[in-house]
Amino acid sequence: MHNTYTLITGASEGFGKSLAFECAAKKMNLILVSLPGAELNYLAAYLKRNYEVDVVPIEKDLSKEEDCIALFEVVSALQLPVNMLINNAGIGSTVSFGEGSLQLYQRQIKLNVLATTMITHLFLDTLKKNKPSYILNVGSMSCFFFLVKKQVYGGTKSYIYFFSKSLHREVKAEGIHVSVICPGGMNTNVALTLLHKSMSRLPRLSIMNPEDVAPIAINGLLKGREVIIPGKLNQFLMLLDKLLPSSIKKMITTQQMKHLKSIALPIDIEAAISLQNTVHTAK
């Protein structure tokens, strides 16, 4: 059964790395994709040695359209039968709209929206061929709450949410299952861990560790859950969302975000590179 491959984008750090560990522990062969220079080869070698699965590292900058196509070509040339696609690579940000650079928003939209769309489209036939197949897209709790300083980020994640649910209905009959996971904040890198420490109590409680979210994600995907909300508190917030009038929700979310410093950084990829500088400024 396990001669198929799981492709994970943004696999070198944070949630993607935890997903890679989780899948390897479940004896899945892996194709790991991340930015060049992110020490992906070490991760691949490590997973191979520890779990006796095949791991193929591929270095690509998926915010470039040609790299998305090149990724598909490399995988096709290697004739790896992909039956699980995890679109995890993304750039997160918490920044007031005027403060953030246009360049950041362009890259964010390209990576979060365009790359997910392109890669899913490119691999769709492969997935159909290797059914039963799975697609996991990474949304966010910010799909549901209109948080300040998360305009573009929340927008891209809402796209992911809509895209996943719609695609789910469309390709189910062809043996492809699509899930979207909507985590709250996660300690995906050192800078974010420091940022989260500075938050007030309630939002801090909703922060989860990627290694705890990864099994929830993969189990949910394999069970065929359409939307996966990890964590009891996040699930409770979703319930509140349905019950509370919008004026009260607005008050709560504004209150929560007030204390956050503006920060724009990649969720998963690039973290290793920019880490050092971010940490020093955060301190």
Binding site: K17, F21, E39, Y42, L43, A45, Y46, R49, N50, Y51, N187, V190, T193, N209, P210, E211, Q276, V279, K283
Partner: protein, 330 residues
Amino acid sequence: MKIFITGATGYVGHALALRLAQNGDCVHVLVRDPSSPHVPKHENIRVFTGDITDRSTIIQPLTECKQVFHTAALVKLWAKDPSIFYKTNVEGTRNVLDEALEQGVKKVVFTSSCGVLGPSINVPMCETDPRNTRIDNDYEFSKLLAENLVKEYCQKKGLSGVIVSLSKVYGPGIETHPFSVNRAIKNFIKGKITFIPKPASFLANYCFINDVVEGHLLAMQKGVGGEKYILGGENISYTELFQRLRSVSGAKAPVIPVPPFVFKCIASLQWLQCKVSGKEPFFTAKGVHHFFCNKALSSDKAICELGYHITPLHTGLQQTTGFLKNIEHA
């Protein structure tokens, strides 16, 4: 040759300073308190009063030194004010590296901890392995940042720096730390009940102090700038460690495996004690999982590239128990 050492009142730094002094090198040691009983004493050792967190105090002791061993660090699992980990371990390291660059030191060996690598899964960890869990304590995080600093100084500023990562060090030497392998061995051979994590099959790695000291010298001689070397020992389970200790020392003290919640209770009691009397806890409830995982390591890189040698655990334990019994009688 003149050699500069920080952390010479620590367990490893102390042994290293004496070893270098016996070699005939002129050893400059930096200490915060020159009256400390842990200051190494030898005719080739010159003691300088200072602190790595104050760069001006390391200018003079570093003068004319060709080599630097930076072993000083704040080693504990918890501190009331966590910023001191960063002040000592990161900014202190920055001061030493800056001054070493300024004075044209040929090579720096930085002593780090295998804690930075995290737990192992099925096979022993090696230097380039990524962490499979997040760093959750300020000590390991500060050591990671310090390692990154050494690498950065090698890549961008032309420093020749080598990182050596130690596992759990044991063997004859001074006692500077209440939560050490030596202390556990001492308690066991004195007949005290010893609690170990349950299941006792978890692996840990124990390195002998003499090997570690030689490893530092080898890293200085042959280590490649910007590289990291694990200086470890044998990977062995808690059960087997105490079985071997029994056979070596003849001690019959009971060894009782206890589940995590017992350790958590102890941590909570320590926490209460801390709140009442201000006594710092050895470990915290959040840190208990550190004892309940495998920490197997591979020293193959150091063995192949540096010629590092591992003393068999049996021999090491014999020397250690002999030493600990002697200081008890003294």
